[in-house]
């Protein structure tokens, strides 16, 4: 049952929220976060559709949050070198959840793709409501960032 005038036009379908929640649940960011809270957050996330070769962000842009690939694939490049090819269920740009982030690479949509934006603003509002789970999420985020840093260090050491 809709509770506001606009709901009929804009409201995310329950199955869409469920799919988003399922994808996030399998990521390390939401480790040990109860499913109903992931669903609550997923309902607040922003689904965007990109055309083939459409720019998602450019190097130097200001980032507002983490991005999850829901459908399609995303190419991440820096200085004309491909850094990663992301598929459904992968996420990127999570540094923006921790700090005011300047994007360090370019990201393009390969085909038609659907991305889910998890904005820092939504995270902060959720942390105000659920401080304990918020602390758990921030622990997950810091270990994810530490892992990424470790991988980059390994890469530099190998070169």
């Amino acid at each position: 049952m809709s509770n506001s005038f606009w709901s009929n036009i804009f409201k995310k379908q329950n199955n869409e929220i469920q799919s988003i929640a399922n994808l996030w649940q399998s990521t390390p960011l939401f480790n040990k976060i109860p499913a109903r809270h992931i669903e609550f957050l997923s309902a607040k996330m922003h689904v965007r559709h990109f055309r083939p070769d459409e720019v998602i962000f450019r190097q130097g842009d200001q980032g507002a949050g983490a991005i999850l690939v829901m459908q399609g694939s995303v190419r991440v490049m820096a200085n004309k070198t491909e850094l990663a090819l992301l598929e459904a269920g992968d996420f990127f740009g999570e540094i923006a959840l921790a700090e005011r982030d300047i994007r360090t690479a370019d990201a393009f949509s390969l085909g038609n793709s659907t991305l889910v934006y998890f904005l820092k603003q939504d995270l902060e509002e959720w942390i105000e409501l659920e401080p304990r789970l918020g602390a758990r999420f921030l622990m997950n985020l810091s270990s994810t960032l530490a892992q990424r840093l470790f991988q980059v260090n390994q890469l530099i050491a190998d070169q």
């Binding site: 606009w6 998602i56 450019r58 842009d61 200001q62 934006y117 603003q121 409501l129």
Partner: protein, 356 residues
């Protein structure tokens, strides 16, 4: 600076200015369309900024969101009724007292003008006609009074509309604002989606902390002044304290106006006691010290990062264009414009740098 960098910087500046002017035009257009309900909308957004943390506090303690809003609004209405029942009659009495004292205040003003204008005339060699200044002041006061009396029915109707609309709008803002905001922001194109959210986030954070800050600041100033004026035995302590609190919404200009007003009211007291003049100023200065040393660092520091010249010029320009409402909205409007411009410029400059 190399020529190519200079060209990119000025081109980014020009493009930012074009988008910025468009944004300002859209905002002014929507303000014009909403002009009949602008005051209730602004009051409701102010109440939203003030009471959203209280609602979130209750939600955090496992109380349903709608119930939390109702509890907060109910407390607000009860507080409003108590304040109206206790303070309103006293304020009305004091307004009557101030009206009765107006002739005395004006005669004090005349004495002041006569004393200093003769000295000033002798120095600059121009003859200042005090009676003309007083007549002009009196005619302005009387026309203000007449217009107030003539418009009293309109004012009452306006007050009734505001009283009905504000709780209604505030309830729905507390309940649905975030979801409607999210849906509206989803209309942004992919290329501006993140930038739009970043600008919104920064503006909202600054406006919320500014609104909360100035409300707390005004309440503290009013309380200190009411207590101080009562202690020194002034006639219209509550009214003058409230006016000082409200005038404190205007930085730099407000405290000076409230100090002049206090001096005028004190000088019109019978029997005239010169020591009250100093004590009145001392009360306002003590309140200002508390404000600057405790309140501003604790609640408003960094809420708006504006240069004093920007603030004073903004108040004068907004006041002359939009009247009283413009004076109150000048600072948040300039702070918002600054954030929007800076963020747009950073993004556009980055795009220009990426193009060969």
């Amino acid at each position: 600076m190399p020529a190519s960098v200079y060209i990119k910087t000025s081109s980014a500046n020009f493009q930012t200015m074009k988008i910025f002017v468009l944004v300002i035009a859209v905002i002014l257009g929507s303000f014009y369309l909403m002009s009949s309900v602008l005051i209730p909308v602004i009051i409701s957004f102010t109440l939203y900024a003030l009471f959203e943390p209280a609602t979130l506090y209750l939600v955090r303690h496992n109380i349903n969101h709608s119930v939390s809003i109702l509890i907060v609004l109910l407390l607000l209405v009860i507080f409003g009724f108590i304040a109206t029942a206790f303070a309103f009659p006293q304020l009305l009495d004091q307004v009557g007292l101030l009206q009765a004292k107006l002739p005395q205040i004006l005669s004090q003003l005349e004495v002041f003008l006569t004393r200093y204008s003769s000295a000033l005339s002798a120095k600059i060699g121009i003859d200042l006609d005090n009676s003309k200044i007083i007549i002009s002041l009196l005619s302005q006061f009387s026309s203000l009074g007449q217009s107030l009396l003539l418009n009293i029915s309109d004012k009452l109707l306006g007050f009734a509309i505001i009283s009905l609309l504000v709780p209604f709008l505030t309830y729905y803002l507390l309940k649905d604002y975030k979801s409607v905001r999210n849906r509206l922001m989803n209309w942004l194109p992919n290329s501006s989606f993140e930038l739009g959210w970043l600008i919104y986030h920064r503006v909202a954070r600054q406006l919320q902390s500014y609104t909360r800050g100035v409300m707390i600041q005004s309440a503290v100033m009013a309380s200190i002044c009411i207590a101080g004026f009562t202690l020194i035995g002034m006639d219209i302590a509550v009214l003058l304290g409230c006016i000082t609190g409200i005038l404190n919404l205007l930085p730099y200009v407000g405290p000076i106006i409230s100090m002049v007003l206090t001096l005028l009211v004190t000088s019109a007291m019978t029997p005239f006691d010169p020591s009250l003049l100093y004590l009145g100023v001392l009360v306002i200065m003590s309140a200002q010290i508390v404000d600057n040393v405790i309140v501003i660092p604790a609640v408003i520091a960094h809420a708006v990062n504006l240069h004093p010249v920007q603030v004073v010029l903004g108040i004068i320009i907004f006041g002359s264009v939009f009247g009283t409402l413009g004076v109150i909205l000048a600072i948040p409007a300039i702070a918002t414009a600054k954030i929007v411009y800076n963020n747009l410029y950073t993004d556009i400059l980055n795009a220009h740098r990426k193009t060969p």
